[in-house]
Structures are given as C-alpha cells and as structure tokens.
Symmetry: C2
Subunit: 346 residues, 2 copies
C-alpha cells in the first residue's frame, strides 16, 4: 500500500448560498482494513456533479443529504487494493460510491467491475455512467423525443448536455445548445455538431435564443433552471415537453427572487400550450441501463458521439474544482484524479 | 317558426378582470334562412363553461378568441327547424357549436345527431360531452391514474370535477374533492361518494386539505389553479401527476400576484419529487371518444356515476349565469334553457 493515510473531505457546515472553503474540511485518518467479505478500494477518479450541492443542504430531498462531519458523497472509479470478497480480486477496477476520500472499504454492495479494454474507466462516471444515462432516459423516455423535434439543451458542453444534444442530432432533430464561455459554444457547434449554441452570459439571451429557434422549441432538456429556463419558456411550442433533471442555477439560491409571482403565468402557458413538465432522477430508470450501454456505447465506438473530460489533478483540489463547477468553469465532464490511473497512457 | 327574431349575445368589450354586464350586448336580428345544403337549428340548451372566459381575451390562445361584435362561442343542443341538408331532417336533435344565440344556420360540419332515447339531450354538453370527456381523458390518459392513487380534484361538484372523482372512485382510489359552499361539499361526499371534501372558502384550506390527505396526493386534477393549486403542491407525493385543464381562478386576473417569484420553488419540487405537470385540451384526444362514451355511458346506466345539471331558464339570463359560474355559484353542469325541450317531461 503506497500510503498509510486516508485523506477525506467532510462537510464542515451546511453552505448558505455558494459553498465556501470552510464548508468543507480535509481530514486524515488511517486507511481502513477490510474485514471478512470486504474489499479495500483506492480511489482513482472522483466524479464531481452538480447534484452534490443539493446533498449539502439540510432537510429532505430525493436522496439522503450529507450531515456535518460526513464524508461528501460521490461516485468513484477505483482499483481493488485488498479483497476478502469472493467476487472481487486485487487489481480489478471498479465503480463505486466511495465519496470524497482516497480509500474506502466496501462489502461489494453496489460495486460494479469495469473492463478497461471496453471503455476508459473514467467514462463509468461520465458518458457511460450516470450523466450519460441521465441524458439518455431524460431525452428519450421522459422527453419522448420525436422525429423532427426542435430541441434546446442547457449546459450544452457539460456531461449531460453534450450527450443530450448529440443523441438528438443522431435522431435527426434540430438542436440548439446553451452554454457559457465562447469556447464552449464553439465546441458544441464545431465538435459536437449542434445546429447552434447561444451563451447565457449574453445580455440578450432571450433574443439570441429566439433568433436560433425560429420555429420554436418542442423539447427543452432542463438541467440548469434559472434564466435559461426563463428564456426558453416563451418559445415553447404546443405540446412541448420539458424533462427537468437539475436546477444548478438555483442550488445556491438563499431566497426566492423578487416578484411578481410568475407561477400563474407559467401554469397558464402549461394549459394553453399543453406543455408537459416532468422531473426525473436517473436512479428511477435503472431498467434502461442495458439499452443505454448498448446505444451510447455503440455511438461512441462508431464515432457518432463524442465526449470531453475535464480532469483536475490532485485530491486536495476537489473543493476548488467543485466550486468552479457550480460557477460553470469546467469544460466537459469534471473529474478529480485522486491517484494514478494505470490504464491511461498519456 | 315560433319567432321571427333571433336574439344573440355578442362580445361588446374585452373584459378587464371579471366580465361585467357591459362587456356583453344582446342584439336582435332576423332568423337566418338556410341555403342549399344548410340547416336551421333552434337552440334548446346553451352550455356555459369556464373556458369561455379565456376566449373573451384578446391575443392568441389554444383556440381563436371572440372578437368584439362576434357572437359569444359555445356548444349548444338544438333541434332542426328547417333542413336543406340531406343528412339532417326537420325535428332531429343535434349537438353543435352555435354560440350564444337562439337560432343558427349551419352547413352540417361538426354537427352531431343526438338520440333522446339513449340519453337526455342535455348530457351531450355535460356528462356525456366535453366536460365529461375532459374528466375521462385527463384522469386516465394525461394523469395515468393508477390503482390506489390518492386523488384530489378541484371544482369537485362541477361538470368536470364530479366525473373525475367518480371515475377515480370506480377505479378504487381514495378521492378528496375541493368545492366551495357546504351544500356542494355535502353533495360530493354524500351523493357522489368521495372520501372527503374540503371548502376553498375555509381560512385554513391548507390545513384542512392536509388533514384529509394523510398519505399525500398522487394525482391532482387541476381545473381551477389559484389557491387550491397552492394548497395541493406541498402535499404532492413522489411521482405525483397533475393534469391541468383549467385555470378559472386566474381567468379574471389582471396582474400577477405579488412576489416573491415562486417558480424556482415549484420547479425545484418538480425535480426533487419527480412531478409530472401536463396541460391538456379535450379536443386533442378525440380518438378516445368511443371509449369515453362506452365507459361513462355504461357507468351512468349502471348508476355508478351520477350527474347534476344546473339549468337557468331564459336566454336573457345567460350573462348573469356566466358571471355566476366564474364566481362558483352554479351547482352542477351549468346550462341555459334557451327554448323548450320537447324531450323532457317535468
């Protein structure tokens, strides 16, 4: 074992608004020893995802939150260091939810083996993992994508948005992305093949979006909320569908925006335009996992679907990377390389 | 012909807020003469429905609005006075959309014959017509009613709500109604068999509703919006569905309510609880007409489904009746008896 110390990042305080450094604490302890039927896993990649901000809040949500003093939750790609578990051997690569720490002991529950020869192990928390599947089920099942749909997706260069838009393109739709920085917009249209991309930094977002959606919007994949949502709503066509999987724009909100209360207007539009708005969480759609792996895996192999990773080096940089994620500073699926990835030649 | 005068009620001004008497005008003209291929129909029943308030507004909606000077739109049950149309004979009863007038000429388009021996002709604009079918498709198709659902329906004694709740009861669900006056609540529980009914006049509506929905709400059939919607939302369970077919509480709204803007809160709940909110208009579901007639017709014949009509006598009272409808003063499906119904023995 290369280290006898296990570094962990724990929640130090429930954030008010944007998480600050002191909301987290880096603690050190001994590397735990696996008991009978257990395995010890070394974290290689820690996945950083917007939903984690929600988990930092007190009070009920769709998943248990992180209490003060708890290790921050998160999906991880790792390697088995020691195994007393019949199902796992030393050296195997695994997907698990070990959270923000360098080592963790597991009883094997929910741990999935990864085959580095099939796909880069990092993709198990990205394009072939939870974000990719969120895109897949959100677009096809919740959003019921139809031929010829005019699709808009927010956070278009991100882990979810990039997959949403590319699947919609593969399915023959007109696709507009919304992203932040110009380089992201260029990537979305240039590399990913979206028909257009507008920046939410623009002072004229509403008009910019209208200009690239001359026939309105049939499907808005909402993974940010906020002003992109507001710019989209007036452009929704009759029978438009809005799968909702994230509200990153609101996660740091400490109070509701000033009035008037726009709910009656939104609900009036829901009626008049027969809109469908539906929230979803990828974990409710696990039965679609084989279809997802078959389809998205196939599109990756054929080159029809591209992905981009934003890998931050060093466990100690996780907090800063996560804060940057909430500000939209990452470019592609955000990962922290916690330790060496022996499968990667660079 | 018993009268040479055709009285019509036309839109005199687009209302601001609640429609006042001077927003309408009663005009008289000659009874029109049917040309070749046309028929003249005498109105027996004029259906008054909340959606008409929306049609009185200028600007686009899901259906063409009424312009100033136009006869108010509306479905009518009538009798053929004269026919130059091969498909219709003098004396036949028909469903058409002749609007707020005593006579109208038609080319037969969209006119449906009614068989008084099968069901009272008035039901063609009520329990076996558009309101009943709104309930049927909204609950079963849009709302995807499931066994054991805990259902809440607003305007529970009304033309739509009463059918929603009774179908849900037939399907074995727990059903709570929201109505206004105590006599309506008593009718909903006593006659229609809902499990409970609360009054939206109560100062403690939120608590009253919570008390009769101890296990939350799986399906809210929203045909009013406003404070009932607000009281329901916090009680929605994970995966709850909300078919939205009417916003009567908002129709007279001249400006949005004061802030804060609750949209981010609503959308946050949509995500966390994986809610489905979907607007619908019955006309988009015409393919379900045969199923609707078979099922609801059958339940009426078996006595499982009851209906109540609130018949106002006299065409000249249509405006007052409509104003009362918007205030919730009707008790059951609201009709105006414009002329004698020869099929009715009372």
């Amino acid at each position: 074992m290369s280290s006898l110390v296990n570094r962990q990042i724990v929640l130090n305080a429930h954030p008010v608004g944007a998480p600050v450094d002191t909301d987290f604490a880096l603690v050190e302890g001994p590397v735990p020893a696996p008991g009978d039927g257990e395995l010890l896993v070394r974290t290689i990649y820690l996945s950083l995802d917007p939903y984690m901000r929600g988990r930092m809040n007190p009070g009920p949500s769709y998943a248990k939150g992180v209490d003060v003093g708890d290790v921050m939750t998160g999906q991880t790609v790792g390697q088995v260091v020691t195994s007393n578990h019949g199902g796992f051997a030393e050296g195997e690569f695994v997907l698990s939810a070990n959270g923000w720490q360098e080592y963790a002991v597991s009883d094997g529950q929910g741990v999935r083996k990864l085959a580095p020869t099939v796909a880069p192990i990092s993709t198990a928390v990205g394009v072939l993992g939870m974000p990719g599947m969120t895109a897949y089920v959100g677009l096809l099942d919740v959003g019921a994508l139809k031929d010829g749909d005019r699709v808009v997706v927010s956070a278009a260069s991100g882990a979810v948005g990039a997959v949403v838009g590319q699947i919609a393109k593969i399915k023959g739709c007109h696709v507009v992305g919304v992203a932040g920085a110009q380089k992201k917009c260029d990537y979305v249209t240039g590399e990913l093949g979206f028909d257009a991309c507008v920046s939410h930094y623009s002072d004229t977002l509403d008009e910019d979006l209208r200009a690239v959606c001359p026939d309105g919007i049939d499907l808005y994949f909402d993974n940010v909320g906020g002003k992109v949502f507001e710019a989209v709503v007036p452009l929704l066509n009759d029978f438009a569908r809005m799968p909702v999987c994230g509200r990153i724009a609101n996660y740091n909100m400490t109070e509701l925006p000033a009035g008037p209360n726009e709910v009656p207007k939104l609900m009036g539009l829901v009626l008049v335009r027969r809109l469908m708005i539906r929230g979803f969480i990828v974990f409710d759609h696990v039965t679609r996992q084989p279809d997802f792996i078959r389809d998205v895996g196939g599109w990756i192999r054929s080159g029809e679907l591209k992905y981009r990773e934003d890998i931050v080096e060093g466990f100690e940089n996780a907090v800063g990377a996560f804060q940057g994620l909430l500000r939209g500073e990452n470019f592609g699926k955000l990962l922290v390389r916690v330790s060496d990835d022996p499968t990667r030649q660079e």
